[in-house]
Symmetry: C2
Subunit: 201 residues, 2 copies
Amino acid sequence: MTEYATTRIQRKNQALIFEAALDVFSSFGFRGATLDQIASTAGLSKPNLLYYYPSKEAIHSAVLTKLLHTWLAPLRELDENGDPIEEILLYVINKLHAARDLPRESRLFANEIVQGAPRIKSILETDLRHLVEDKVRILRKWIKQGRLAKIDPYHLIFSIWSLTQHYADFDVQVQAVTGQETSFDEAEVFLNHLYRRMLAP
Amino acid sequence: MTEYATTRIQRKNQALIFEAALDVFSSFGFRGATLDQIASTAGLSKPNLLYYYPSKEAIHSAVLTKLLHTWLAPLRELDENGDPIEEILLYVINKLHAARDLPRESRLFANEIVQGAPRIKSILETDLRHLVEDKVRILRKWIKQGRLAKIDPYHLIFSIWSLTQHYADFDVQVQAVTGQETSFDEAEVFLNHLYRRMLAP
DNA sequence: CGTCAATTTTACCAAACGGTCAAACATTTT
DNA sequence: AAAATGTTTGACCGTTTGGTAAAATTGACG
C-alpha cells in the first residue's frame, strides 16, 4: 500500500468531477458556478465533492492546469523545419478544430481571461509567454528568409487565437446572427483564404 | 410637476450608477458583480441604489441596452456608396479604436455572450441580425461587382469583431504574452495589412 | 418658514453559498 | 470474520447576497 495510490472509486469520481466542473465552469465562469451545481452534475453530494477537492478554487485550478497543456498543444507543433505557410495554416486549422471539438475548454479559458485571468495570470506570463517567444523566433526567421510576409509575429498569433476561438466563445452570437448552426467548414474556407493571402511573401 | 420629470439629483445619481455598473459588470460579469460593489463604486448605499433601479437585473439590462447602440454604431456607418475596401478598413479601424477607447463596453458584451447571452440573446437575434443582414447584402453586391475578393461576408464580419475586440477582451493575455502595454498602433498596422491583402479582388 | 415630496439611511430578512463535522456506510486487507 | 481503511451522507455553520420596510433626512416650493 503505497502512499499515493489511487483507488478505482477515486479514479471514477475524479473523472466525474472533472467533467462536471468543466461543464459548469465553462458555462458560468468561476464566480457563476456553484459547488451544488458541480456536485449534482457529477451525481455526487456536495460534501462528497469536497472529499476529493479541498475547495472550489482547488477544483477550478485543477481543471485549468490539466487542460492548459491540451489547449496549447497545437501551437507547440508549429515546426521550424516545415514550410512556413503550410505550418501556420496547419496551426490555424488545428485551432479551428479545437474550437469545434472542445468548446468547453475554449470557454473555460475565455471566461477566465476576460475577467482578468486572476487565477492563471502567472502561467500566462511564464509558460505561455515562453512558448510564444519561441514560436515568434521561428516566425521572425521565416520572415527574414523572405518566406513569409513582413508582419508582426505576435499579432499573427493573436489573430489565430481570436479568429478560431471566436467560433467557440461567441458561438451564441454567431448562431443568433446567421440563424443557423455554426458552419466550421465555411469558417475553414474563409480562414484558409485569409491566411494564404496575408502570409504570402 | 409633470409625471416623468427627472430631478437634478436623479440625473446625477443615474449617471453615477451607470458608470459604476459598467465598471463592475464589465470586470466581473453579471453573476460576479455584487450590488454592494456597484453601490460603493457609485458612492451610494445599496438601498439607495435600489431606490433608482428595482433589481440587479434591471441595472444590468439598462446598461446593456443603453450601450448596444453605441456598440453597433461603427457597423451602421458602412456605406454602400463608398469604396468597398476603404469602407471595410474604416470599419475595422473604428472597431479597433472602440476596443482601445471603450474596453469596458467590449468586455461587458464579451462576458454576456461567452456565457450564452441569456439576457440579450433576443436582441442579437433581431436587431443585430437585421443590421448584419443589411450589411451582408452590401458586401455581396460588392463581391458580385468584382470590387471585393470572393469571401463569405458573414465570416468577414465575424473576423472583424473577433480581431478587434480581442485586444480589449483578452488584453490581459496580450500583455502577459508580450510583456508590454498593448500597442494599438502595431495592431492597426497588422490589421491594415491583413484586410488589404484579404479583400483585394 | 412650513409643508410636502424626494431622497437617504439604518436595521433587517430569507435564500444561497462555500465549507465543516461526525457519524454511517463500504471496501479492502489481514 | 474482524479490523482497518476508504467513502458517503445529513445536519449544520458563518458569510455573502439580493432585496425590503420604515424611519430619518434633505430638498423643492408656495
